[in-house]
Symmetry: C2
Subunit: 332 residues, 2 copies
């Protein structure tokens, strides 16, 4: 059987993702990172140190590696490279190399919360009420559509940097002084859910999903979660996938508030919590390899064990500075 060769960019600490591909038969896994201290580099078959994605030669370098390693598909696992690749899809499709992410308009929804809010509004998808300016917020408040407390955060950005819970107008005006590109959102306090889903690269169909309730967050990452039923969220997710034309692995975040599922974030790449889905039996790397081999994926059965508790813990790996070869892993 022919080999399927996948290039995973900016692998960082995403060791599990690399391992899942490596466990598939007839797959060569090529990894890159800007730093040789990225542990996941050493879990594939081949690794390359690359310039940062801001380097003007970055895409040329990616193409060089594709040529040298006979790459069939490129998987970006951080937002910035997902965006860059989706914008330059043609340079790769010419050479018959697939980009494993969504088209640029969809990737844009993942990094600009204003775009996501407008998109949801235009497509009648439920999301957190979002205002792009103080005057918009004031109008809505006078119309009785929203009130304090609200949440103020940068339109572009992730994690909880520069996020403020604000309880009155004086405080809101103070927080917004000297800041641009901030959004004002309704303060939502309900439980938070993360969906890891796969949208077929060929058909765009939602072919598999896994829903977890977040139990413990640390530094923007889910450390503990619980697997929950996908049924209540399926139709909204299907709508979203179709309307946003999402492709490949996605990670969609929802709040459940007053009986409503509200879309709070879309990531057009593997989410940091994907290993929980794989531990419960999902295998999106296999679906990706099927697509790279020209096969369409059938819709899966959407089943997985419920009420599983998913927990993260730190694993260590050691490499020699001189040889950059992995010497030890999972020393027990």
């Amino acid at each position: 059987m022919d080999m399927t060769n996948i290039l995973i960019l900016t692998v960082g600490t995403r060791v599990k993702i690399v391992e899942y591909f490596k466990a598939l038969p007839h797959v060569k896994v090529v990894c890159t990172d800007a730093s040789l201290n990225a542990p996941a580099l050493y879990f594939g078959d081949v690794h390359y140190q690359m310039p940062r994605f801001t380097d003007p030669t970055y895409l040329d370098r990616v193409l060089e590696i594709c040529e040298a390693e006979d790459i069939d598909g490129i998987l970006p696992i951080i937002d910035t490279t997902a965006f860059m690749l989706s914008q330059n899809q043609q340079r790769f499709s010419q050479k018959n190399i697939k980009i494993i992410t969504s088209p640029p308009e969809a990737v844009a929804l993942s990094y600009d919360k204003r775009k996501l809010a407008r998109f949801c509004h235009d497509n009648q998808l439920p999301t957190i009420p979002t205002f792009e300016s103080l005057s918009d917020f004031k109008c809505a408040r006078e119309a009785g559509q929203i009130d304090f407390p609200v949440f103020v955060k940068p339109a572009i950005g992730s994690g909880s940097v520069d996020n403020y819970k604000v309880s009155d107008m004086t405080e809101l005006e103070a927080v917004l002084v000297d800041k641009t590109n901030m959004i004002i959102q309704a303060f939502v306090d309900g439980p938070e859910f993360g969906i890891d889903a796969y949208c077929d690269l060929e058909t765009g169909e939602l072919v598999d999903l896994f829903v977890k309730e977040k139990l413990l967050m640390r530094g923007g990452e889910t450390d503990k979660a619980r697997s929950v039923d996908q049924e209540p969220i399926l139709s909204i997710l299907r709508d979203l996938v179709r309307r946003a034309n999402l492709r490949g692995p996605i990670d969609v975040e929802f709040f459940y508030d007053h009986g409503q599922w509200l879309i709070s974030e879309i990531n057009t790449r593997f989410g940091g919590g994907y290993p929980f889905a794989q531990a419960c039996g999902k295998n999106y790397p296999q679906l990706i390899v099927n697509n790279l081999n020209g096969e369409r994926n059938q819709v899966q059965n959407f089943e997985y064990p419920l009420n599983m508790i998913l927990m993260k813990y730190p694993e260590v790996v050691v490499s020699s500075m001189d040889s950059n070869v992995l010497l030890q892993s999972k020393v027990g």
Copy 2:
């Protein structure tokens, strides 16, 4: 051969520590935590859910488990339980159960930075210049012993919560308003080192050590480090171990500043970065088991490979909420 039975308290996410003991022959590993969502619980032989250490019945419960599981030694791996156990050592020694940590006066150095500063001063050990009050700081500044910038932090506490870099007196006075139990320290900018060492429980001798330079910190934990030579730091560490009467596994943090090694923190328990030492060939769990079996440990050769790059990444584990049995781990 007789079994050695060890009880590890509040295991949390310290899966690696549990695994290292589990890998030793003739050792039974009993784990406890207040939460059944603590992943390390499921890596030992037996686990118990316990009340929090603040519960008045906590020690009774520990003794009950010791009786039920015929425990030879108890390993605390967080500061609070280390302190509580060291203070109540007698209740356990009566029953021939060893507490694997330092005596209470030494454990106190690990949670109150004022005590550590006074201890180092009284014992001529190098540490970061530390002032317990604004007036002390002002006196020292007038005497030309210290100047801005300084670092202000709580005397008791870990991580970087409530830590401030302060550049002038106005700012310093503002930061200290309404706060008690804060210390003022010289701002040290040099590279930071962490030492994982083992002090024999019987003899108190420093029997092994491993020194790493910290390359990347995240949320108070070392995510990347490099193994470095122990020689320059050995004599200070030996002095510290002897004068503070340290016992069992310790984690000592140093800054290297202007040609000086400065003690910045002592933890009288396994540090979060200990798995790096084990990955480089150390095996303190074996030294602990030797001590529990009544053997004294000889001083080891202090050797390990230098310039190894040590990297952390997230591993996942899944347990069923209903049965609390580990179902899957390291799904690859």
